[in-house]
Amino acid sequence: MTRVGMLAVFSLAASSATGQTVSRYQRQVDSLTLAWRGAQSALEANLEEQRVTLALRDTLAVGPLHIMVSPRRRALAQRVAVGALASLSSSYGTSLTLLGRNTFAVRDVTASDGDGVDSTYVLVSEVVGGAQAFRQVVLPDSAIVTTALRMAMLRALARSLDAPPRQWLSATDLPFDTLRAPDWTNARLQLLSSGAAVGQRCYNEDIRACRLALLLDESADPFVDLYDAAERRGLVERMEESGYHRWQGRSPTGCTAGDDGECIAALRGLGTMPHPIRSTHRRELVQVAMAIGGAGAMQRFLSTRGGIDARIQSAAGVPTDSVVHAWIGRVRGGRKPSDDMSPAIAGFSLAWTLVFGAMALRSSRWR
């Protein structure tokens, strides 16, 4: 096979094309462009009619919130703003005054459904410098609009955090409530299947391992502290499959043959590290601090200056290690028994057997 060097050909102007096929497609494109423009103009004229009705706006103030509303959604906006503030005030307390700097919107919007049908919905958004920092289009139902507005508020509050705790949370919003039992079941499964040895050690109630896994402590040598040899080899093999090292010009063949030193060197060369456990666990930790700290917990979390350790301690009112201990306790308590066979299934099976047996015994002889 021959390699023909670099070719300076690709100024793909239509004029360079001479084929009959190209001309035919060019004519098709020209004619379709006209048809498309016509259809687009008709659509825009129709949309403009709708916009005239929808663009009417009013301003509403509820507590610290400033909300731009469509006139016909004013009552709905009032109701949902009161509801959203009430649901957050216990935990977030006076921090909600921070929202006075933000502008939210609750207004009508016409959106196209999947099948090309347009329907009127409610747009909940946060307006920052004329642009929408958050935008959710929902059904005009009080409960749904309240949830969307609360999410917009929690996002705005998350942005009020300094960069380090915001990055630590890896979330665009702050938690609204503590976790329910099924969420802990999920958390347990995720921690146990994290693919990092530190996750398993943490599950076995090694608080130092939990602090490393939750990024509360910084590791001097993360690939050694967080992963074991088999996991390191697995990480390198996955990178090999994607061609990463070949692109880098070096292939750690010794690692795949079992040389852990080479695996460590290859991983250190990455310059970045995959998080050992999911970021959702860090959010769970904050939710445990919320539960322990009770009223005003998130207010203290937001107002405390300093690192994430100090914020969690302040929110919970107990040392961070106690919160970590409580968190891992909840995770371990998330065990869910197998539902392959439950007492209910066994009971129903036996009951049906008895019913059919009894009916068989009542049956006359078929002769």
């Binding site: 096979m1 023909v4 060097g5 070719l7 793909l12 001479t18 497609y25 048809a35 259809a39 049908v117």
Partner: protein, 398 residues
């Protein structure tokens, strides 16, 4: 009250009636506020036609332009890197071509040119060119003339040329297998016979998109999407295969030879998602870019007849028959079915059933009961019948 046969039957009919009423009852359809649909539908349809035509125009221009700019042909295959490909990408391309050269013939029967370019094209005014179906697109111009060449145009999306994952994707095993596409076959085995070509044309060359088969294509074993992975249990492999194939394709994979005949040999069939389009008689454009194949959850909503491994069919046939036997099949003027049977000793459908077992972990036909469930059911039934028999044996007939 004794349950006489008449009462049994009456009871059964009554319960069936209740079941029918419960299961067939339909809810009231919800009224929805409707307006503008005609306007938007018309604009969407016009936009879609325009976008497709513009993409074909671009590809046709590209192939025309490449052909006119290429140096006069030699007897060997070549690869060409356009000047607008960044140096780091060019390095990856050299690596890639060196890798795949091991599986290519020294003396090609139909010389193949592989051309790498960065696609700088913008959208037709008013439409969006999302590249959502891949950042490394390939198109194949498969010559129909003796003495012609096969052309592979590889387009890297300008938007992603500084992204590391793009180059990782280019060096992946999947990209190496798929890069040459149909050209890999004509390069190794020459132009197909009229009979084979008609067969391939009728199915848009969808079974020939993977050509380099020095090693076996791995079985399909995709992850279940996170949004379907609940505590009610992950999807079984059977269910994933059902989702990723057409109904007839699934029946074929599960061992139905008649369904395999329909899927493989019915030239007028257009069922399931299409892996590629044949247009202008000799241009084959795969639906997905090299970086999209076998990735993520594509299978969840894109189901070609023979599933995600359908495009490997011909390369697996070539690998299992061996070079000479496959060449005889490829050049045979007899019908596809006869030509295949002559070389493989089994019918194409029988061979495909074996292939599907390997690729899709032996899917099962029809609804199934797990062995433990069946055993439990039989035990309960046996106990109940035994108890009834024992009781009945002691009954006195009054």
């Amino acid at each position: 009250m004794a349950l006489t046969p008449v009462r049994w039957i009456t009871l059964a009919i009554a319960l069936c009636g209740v079941a029918l009423v419960v299961t067939l009852r339909e809810g009231t359809p919800a009224n929805r506020e409707r307006n503008q649909d005609d306007y938007r539908l018309r604009a969407n349809i016009a936009g879609s036609h325009l976008s497709n035509a513009a993409e074909r125009l671009r590809t046709a221009q590209l192939i025309d332009s490449v052909r006119s700019a290429l140096p006069v042909g030699t007897d060997s295959s070549r690869y060409i890197i356009a000047r607008n490909v960044p140096p780091v990408a060019a390095g990856v391309v050299h690596d890639l071509m060196r890798d795949i050269s091991r599986g290519r013939p020294r003396t090609p029967r139909v010389p193949t040119d592989v051309v790498f370019i960065v696609d700088t094209g913008s959208a037709v005014p008013g439409t969006t060119r999302l590249w959502y179906n891949g950042a490394v697109r390939t198109d194949y111009a498969v010559s129909r003339d003796v003495g012609g060449r096969c052309l592979v145009v590889v387009r890297l999306s300008l938007r992603y040329t500084n992204q590391r994952w793009l180059y990782n994707a280019l060096l992946s095993a999947d990209a190496r297998r798929r890069l040459l596409g149909p050209c890999g076959f004509v390069e190794s085995f020459g132009l197909p016979s009229r009979s084979i070509r008609t067969w391939l044309d009728s199915r848009d060359w969808d079974v020939a998109l993977t050509s380099l088969a020095t090693t076996a294509n791995p079985p399909w074993n995709p992850p279940v999407p996170w949004f379907e992975n609940t505590f009610l249990g992950a999807w079984s492999m059977d269910f994933r295969v059902r989702r990723a194939t057409s109904l007839t394709g699934y029946a074929c994979a599960a061992g139905s030879l008649g369904d395999c005949d329909v899927v493989l040999l019915d030239g007028n069939r257009r069922v399931g998602a299409r892996e590629a389009r044949l247009w202008e008689d000799s241009l084959v454009s795969p639906t997905w870019g090299l970086d999209m194949n076998d990735r993520d959850y594509l299978w969840y909503w894109f189901a070609p007849e023979l599933g995600p491994r359908g495009s490997t069919l011909l390369s697996e046939i070539a690998r299992s028959l061996g070079h000479d036997a496959f060449q005889r099949f490829w050049l045979s003027e007899r019908s596809v079915e006869t030509a295949f049977r002559e070389q493989a000793g089994v019918s194409l459908s029988e061979w495909v059933v074996g292939w599907a077992r390997r690729m899709y972990a032996s899917p099962h036909r029809g609804p199934g009961t797990p062995p433990t469930g069946m055993a439990m059911g039989l035990i309960f039934a046996a106990v109940s019948v035994g108890a009834a028999l024992a009781r009945a044996a002691r009954r006195q007939i009054s």
